[in-house]
Symmetry: C2
Subunit: 178 residues, 2 copies
């Protein structure tokens, strides 16, 4: 199974403000930059509890009929979701990947700061697609965090858009210990 | 006078490791990505004391006969520099820009984490040229820091290179209070 990240950040690397606001991102995701094509390619999203709560406050559930797996060890209330397919899972990134893989899923979309960092640290992300929004916000929730070691990336493609978005796609180079 | 930044960072936004090491950057600056053309366009570099000390430890003074202004309120020892043109200056970014501007300088290259952040916060950087090296290092000295307010950028150009470097050039949008 493959796991990808598709995320927008400020040029200084934040995915949200301290209070979870996303007002510095262009409304509606900005001009089309491949999100629809990307989401069509995944079998499920895997997000953390915090991202789930942010998304739940959106006017509409944004993931349609796509399976959304929310990682949390505490019982979550899904009763407010209208029309979405959501389930809860707990465990390490390895366990989550093993469970979803056993169910035949081929490609998951890992989203949310903490969850992305956990999966990256576990070596379970294969693709990073980062779209930089042309603004510095100074502080907020960072996309990246501490890592046990350097993670080398292979540049796949970069594209810029008239509104100033710059999307770069990297493959994570996985080093196998012998 | 214009001030520009031309700097390399990891994909997670670090310009050096915690101990100032630059080993994650490609040796010799990596494949040519416009540094020579950029440095030829500036009248002087403005760097902080810490960057000066890192550069002083390089096998060779890297700035040739280009004027290098080192910002420090403490007296610095320039006796170890062979062949470089270096002077010390103290003061706020505004004072430094005013002094250099009065001497007829038209374009300065502001370098080093703390100095870049001070000049950005003061609204005195017009151009940011950031080259992302395809690696995550997890921790280190960040390029960006806290800002009193959002700083909007205008995307000018992005170029990727076969080795995986991605260079993006932004203009800082200066908002004048009325």
């Amino acid at each position: 199974m493959r796991a990808s990240v598709f995320i927008g950040t400020s040029v200084d690397g934040f995915i949200a403000r301290r209070d979870d606001r996303l007002d510095f991102l262009p409304p509606g995701g900005g001009e089309p930059h491949g999100y629809d094509e990307f989401i069509a390619s995944v079998d499920a999203l895997v997000i953390g509890r915090k991202t789930f709560e942010v998304v739940l406050a959106f006017p509409e559930w944004p993931y349609g009929k796509k399976l959304v797996v929310v990682l949390s060890s505490k019982q979550l209330d899904f009763s407010a979701i209208r029309g979405g397919i959501v389930e809860q899972m707990a465990g390490t990134p390895e366990e989550v990947v093993a469970k979803l893989s056993a169910r035949g899923l081929k490609h998951i979309y890992v989203d949310g700061g903490i969850t992305v960092q956990r999966f990256l640290r576990a070596g379970l992300i294969q693709r990073l697609i980062i779209t930089r929004v042309p603004v510095l916000i100074g502080e907020g929730i960072p996309l990246f965090g501490a890592m046990p070691r350097d993670i080398k990336l292979r540049h796949i493609a970069t594209q810029s858009y008239p509104s100033g978005l710059v999307k770069t796609e990297y493959e994570v180079i996985t080093c196998v210990l012998k």
